[in-house]
Symmetry: C2
Subunit: 338 residues, 2 copies
């Protein structure tokens, strides 16, 4: 569904991600080296499990944002490599812990680490990566960076707990939902961009503009993620379609479909989310209602609004190449189907 709608712009925006990656290939290679180096441990299970996760890869969008923001900020030192690795470590730690929380068997098309090594190892290796992230930050010698990323880490945990407490809560408002995803997803994007402004000693206005850029991009990113869970292809997602629904997570497409639901439809949603498990038949019906109320499209429209906000936050910076790259990659976030 999504791919049909977005096909016309696909080529251009895929290239936006490729262009960003290409512009920072050398920097990203240094970050990757640092990631490999700092996940080492004499305790073999740690690098094995960390490598499984880190190699599975994903787009490394967060560390790329840190690198590009540092460039935009005119930073000339080398602390940004450590910060980009830090951001990826914090992200990886939260992924390991999320897989336990969600009980997801798959992550990025591979068995989730907890499926292979068990919950215990996933908890502990997540803790290890989180601790190593802090050690990396300490090396930058910048207390404000530590303050921002320690604060972000507790906000992320709060967002995750709030989402956990909201399982099967059909009364959740869109505002509450946006607060949850701002905490669990957008806060790290915001910090990934902001810390580069800090090490470059930018004035506060520009630091906050980079925070805003990352935050709006993160909101868009999560909304698209939520839409893809009902509209993507399992192959491209690297996990099953409808996982959020099966886990009882009320995400934006469901919240929107519920707002527009008839009485019968309301009953379906109430019944479906009050059951301990939802089957394929339930999912098919849920997807039919989401389609009927155009809830994937309206979720994507909302993501596009946040992309516009992200781009507009960049206007404070001179219209040079890196600003264009950061601006263009926002469209990729809307258009990605993996």
């Amino acid at each position: 569904m999504l791919s049909t709608t977005l096909e016309p712009e696909r080529q251009a925006t895929t290239n936006a991600m490729t262009r960003l990656e290409a512009a920072f290939t050398d920097d990203m290679a240094k970050v990757n080296d640092l990631i490999i180096e700092r996940m080492q441990s004499p305790v073999g299970m740690i690098p094995d499990l960390a490598a499984h996760l880190v190699r599975a890869g994903g787009k490394r969008l967060r560390p790329l944002i840190t690198l590009a923001s540092a460039d935009l900020a005119g930073y000339t030192g080398d602390a940004h490599y450590k910060l980009a690795a830090t951001v990826e470590f914090i992200h990886s730690a939260t992924l390991l812990h999320d897989d336990i929380v969600d009980g997801s068997p798959m992550r990025r098309g591979k068995p989730a680490a907890n499926t292979v090594w068990g919950n215990a190892a996933s908890v502990l290796v997540g803790d290890f990566l989180f601790a190593r992230a802090f050690s990396l930050m300490v090396e930058t010698g910048r207390l404000r960076v530590l303050d921002i990323l320690a604060g972000a880490s507790s906000i992320i945990a709060e967002g995750e707990v709030r989402q956990l407490a909201a399982i099967a809560n059909l009364d959740m408002s869109e505002l509450e939902y946006m607060q949850i995803i701002e905490a669990k997803t957008a806060e790290l994007f915001a910090s990934a961009a902001r810390v580069s402004a800090v090490i470059a000693d930018l004035p506060e206005e520009q630091e906050l503009a980079l925070d805003r850029y990352g935050r709006e991009l993160g909101l868009a990113f999560q909304l698209v993620d939520d839409a893809l869970d009902y509209a993507g292809s399992a192959k491209k997602l690297g996990k099953a379609v409808g996982d959020d629904f099966r886990e009882g997570k009320v995400t934006m497409p469901v919240a929107k479909a519920i707002q527009l639901a008839s009485k019968d439809e309301q009953s379906f949603w109430t019944e479906a989310f009050s059951k301990p498990e939802r089957n394929d038949h339930d999912l098919q019906h849920a997807m039919a209602l989401i389609t009927k109320h155009d809830a994937v499209q309206t979720t994507l429209d909302q993501a596009r609004t946040h992309v516009r906000n992200a781009k507009s936050a960049l206007q404070i910076f001179a219209p040079e190449r890196t600003r264009t790259l950061l601006s263009d990659v926002c469209d990729f976030v809307i258009d990605r189907s993996f």
Copy 2:
């Protein structure tokens, strides 16, 4: 068994803990206020779960060590309150995550948090406390403190993973075992004492002496913990006797009994630890063999050696009241039966 052996010195050493607590009652009240304040969150499940853990209490030995070490170091500021709270937060986060790793139903005589709130909440609230610990440290403005405690946190995680990988490994040497408990337990005791030397700007020799004091005390603490698992009373332990055995953990009393085992006894240990579960009958036999080879007593003897090392590390400091308190509390660690 333990209580009979140790009864004569019980009264005196219980008083050593009481004396340490009494000497720092006012300081500890400030630390407790800080702990309550910083575990707050608009997300209700977080303070609820954190309060369950923090109220369950334990002795607060680690933050007391930080406070007393700061006093011993002649520190006159107020960063030590934040560091004591930090140390307790890191300890609490590891407890929450350990309960998931161990699958323990009980902790300090109450249902473990994961039994009440589930694994997901325990993972996330542990992450929250860990992040808040780092925010507290940042407020002290001392990068070396952050470096020490971030480093300690990754070493703790490594120790836990190593213990996980060593489940049912009957070939584990005493040296390997000591390395595991130095990482998972003693490192935090060492850091709890050391960071006070850092904020007091003590010379390196005294900083390392406090590290050594905490490290040796931590080793003794864990060895006694391991002994109590086979020799304590369930009521005083606040958890079942023999939990380590049931979980397949090879701890020091077992390692020592295995070293002295006859061929038949070897077969028992091999069989017992190769089974997915060990029953009460297995535990009774294990305890009989541990008694036969005096393995609880030799484990406690080893703990006493580390207590002597801890006391001796303090000799570099003037023989004033706080040094005596820190020295005397080592005996409490040997003698505690809860």
